[in-house]
Symmetry: none
Subunit: 223 residues, 2 copies
DNA sequence: TTCATTTCTTAAGTTTTCCTTAATTTTCAA
DNA sequence: TTGAAAATTAAGGAAAACTTAAGAAATGAA
């Protein structure tokens, strides 16, 4: 289930992203309205958790845009305001649920499950969970990779690394960018961990699949 | 839209019935669990507004009964308790929404509109009572499992665990996701219960049937 | 009810796998 | 050619999962 979290408080967002991923969601994060709209336009978001208190405008405009687009996207509102009128406006604009801050993460998850259950009976999609780049395929739901259709085992970090590369195929990712994708900005990497993971990946993937651009970074699927 | 209000406070009920009718609902009123069940058994209720604080027992039992019956009835909970855990229990039992007392009637109506909108586009998913994954079969009705056609005994939790895994075969479920499926968020799991159940299950199932993806979760039925 | 039995949770010890580090070698571009 | 960047190796340590066992709960029967 692909979920977009629209929340500008970085600390709160970080924690939620982590827990939501543990709950099984594929999470994107936007800290502003324009960033959120970019993700939505991209097309494969199924659920939005929307904080109404954003720096660059009223979050309700995102809700309006989603509902006007008629895309099958469910929206759960999140806000510090708890006046009944705001709730009503949100719900009547088409929001699927509403949670006042401060909230218990467990309640958020429970409400998301309700929405997910509902979506599940409307959509039969799990297709967005397959990524492909030439003869390499990633099954995100099954956490499995295939080379020429043959399954290969990948440990967690290697899988994350390959996922990041394929999601950005034909685009070069620097080691710093890759580190940001693999590590929750908690611990600094003091060594060449990325290089070692790349090396392990290469032994399992087709020759030349991951290209090195010396001094710049790594890339897959270029030319 | 035929709505059943389950509320024992006569005064509050009186007012709500009046306003709900004004909103266009066809309203029935029950002041007790048994009375409510009678209306539901009668058969043409589409929506229930359920007060949890009833004189003759816990309103949650009505919710359970409705959801077990698989009738396409939406339920909105209404209650004075506002502990998060109660909300979560209600929502996970299948309630469509929740409103803590005291509430603003306008908010109730807004939430009912959301539910009504949803009911309009809802299709009922009839679950098969037999699940299969390679040579393992689950009979949900008979609460029994078969390996190569031979019945094996599974305690409740182990059965639920296997059911969750097979329902999501070829998709990895994290321990957090499995916990959500086995426990109604009433109490926290402070330990490695999931791991222990997995261990017991494995002793009864074909070798390699449940795979571990370290750091990710468990999966069955993968290539 | 009470008791006996099954099932569940907790906790500790063990094992396994994976990740990081660091030292060394190789490659590449200036 | 030469120095910096990347590749390669191997090992130590840490995290996650497995296993076992015992006590707590839940269940069901008398």
């Amino acid at each position: 289930m692909k979920l977009l979290l629209v929340e500008d408080d970085a600390l709160l967002a970080q924690g939620l992203i982590h827990s939501l991923k543990k709950e099984g969601y594929s999470v994107e994060h936007a800290g502003s309205i324009c960033c959120a709209m970019a993700f939505i336009d991209e097309g494969n978001i199924e659920m939005v958790v929307l904080d109404l208190g954003l720096p660059d405008g009223d979050g309700l405009s995102i809700l309006k845009a989603i509902k006007q687009s008629k895309l099958p996207i469910a929206v759960l509102l999140l806000t510090a305001r708890d006046s009944t009128d705001d709730k009503i406006i949100g719900l009547d604009l088409g929001a699927d649920d509403y949670l006042p801050k401060p909230f218990d993460a467990k309640e958020l998850f429970a409400r998301l499950r309700v929405i997910g259950r509902r979506l599940g009976s409307q959509l039969t999609t799990q297709l967005s969970s397959i990524l492909t780049c030439s003869n390499v395929t990633l099954d995100l739901g099954g956490h499995q990779a295939f080379v020429d259709g043959i399954a290969i085992e990948l440990p967690r970090k290697e899988f994350m690394l390959l996922k990041a590369l394929i999601e950005n195929q034909a685009r070069v990712l620097s080691k710093a960018q890759l580190e940001n994708k693999l590590y929750q900005w908690g611990e600094e990497l003091g060594s060449n961990a990325i290089e070692v993971h790349i090396h392990h990946l290469r032994k399992k993937l087709p020759k030349g699949f991951i290209k090195t651009l010396r001094g710049i970074g790594y890339v897959v699927g270029k030319q």
